[in-house]
């Protein structure tokens, strides 16, 4: 594959992410990874549900009293929006508009960072209330589930940033187009997981 080959918007293929065999392979492989991730998260959710509110006798924390819903609401909105901004980025990728793509990715990263900041704040807050990781089965399950999601956000951000920096000078080509596409897919997947987290952990917790 020739990295220096220049494309114009007109010669840029319809589906750049799957236009080469490498692209196709990455694409299918990545989706398979997402299928595995689905099960990973399901196992974490299942454990969380089984251990929710379980702790040593006399534990003072329960899911109904602990969580800060307004904060969670803000986080949800931010993450949902970032999912849309990454859709814009890919839209521009497909139109072979590198600058616009980078800009939208930049916005996505900013939103992601905000989300991560809020999550760190939230965890810190709970820990200060005395709800530490080693307190109970409940706290372990909670932090592990939500924290694993947080780690995915962090990884997604690093990925975006690495791609943006690495390719800033050379623009779009057949080699990196699939990478951008997959990073965006990953980001959507993170959003999907969050939808379940806010529903199952926070909302269902608040009313249990």
């Amino acid at each position: 594959m020739d990295l220096n080959k220049r494309y114009t918007a007109q010669s840029w293929p319809d589906h750049p992410e799957t236009a080469t065999l490498e692209g196709k392979n990455k694409f299918v492989g990545f989706w398979l990874l997402l299928a595995a991730e689905t099960i990973t998260f399901a196992s974490l959710f299942a454990t969380y549900l089984a251990l929710r509110d379980r702790g040593p006798s006399g534990m003072e924390f329960s899911s109904s009293g602990l969580f800060e819903l307004p904060l969670v609401f803000a986080m949800t909105m931010i993450l949902l929006t970032s999912s849309l901004t990454s859709v814009y980025a890919i839209h521009h990728m497909k139109n072979h508009n590198f600058k616009a793509m980078q800009a939208w990715l930049g916005i996505t990263v900013l939103l992601g960072l905000t989300f991560l900041g809020l999550e760190i704040y939230e965890f810190n807050h709970y820990v200060h209330l005395g709800f530490g990781y080693t307190n109970s089965a409940f706290s372990a399950a909670f932090y592990t589930l939500v924290g694993t999601h947080g780690a995915h956000v962090l990884f997604g951000l690093c990925w975006f940033i690495a791609l943006m920096v690495r390719n800033s000078k050379r623009g779009l080509n057949m080699y990196n187009a699939p990478k951008f596409y997959l990073a965006a897919l990953y980001w959507h997947f993170i959003d999907v997981v969050w939808v379940f987290i806010f529903t199952v952990v926070y909302l269902m917790g608040a009313i249990s």
């Binding site: 918007a9 236009a19 997402l34 959507h188």
Partner: protein, 110 residues
């Protein structure tokens, strides 16, 4: 095994058509996004309003499921051409995910 696609240059008309289609698609995405936000709002409002648990839980789970479908099908294009195999594996994954959750919520019962 061809590693580069044979290059195809679109005519001007084709290109314009494609751009139109993409913009239309983008409007579509905006709609999905609006729906997602709306569903989220409903979910949070329901909880804030404090209806009976038995009522809310199924509803918010359903809302979550709808959102996920929107993400998968619109943002992630799961229904597009060439996604047959990956969709199959995603569903297998969801199936295993489902029985895992089912097992741990029903069978760890004490």
């Amino acid at each position: 095994m061809a590693h580069d696609t044979t290059e195809k240059i679109r005519s001007h008309a084709e290109h314009e058509f494609l751009k139109k289609r993409r913009s239309a698609e983008m409007r579509h995405q905006m709609t999905s996004f609006a729906i997602m936000i709306f569903l989220t709002l409903i979910a949070f409002t329901l909880v804030a309003a404090g209806f009976s648990t038995y009522l809310i839980v199924p509803i918010i789970l359903l809302l979550a499921a709808v959102q996920v479908v929107l993400q998968l099908y619109h943002f992630m294009h799961l229904s597009n051409k060439g996604h047959g195999m990956v969709a199959f594996f995603m569903f297998s994954g969801i199936f295993v995910a489902f029985i895992t959750v089912l097992a741990l919520v029903t069978i760890v019962w004490w």
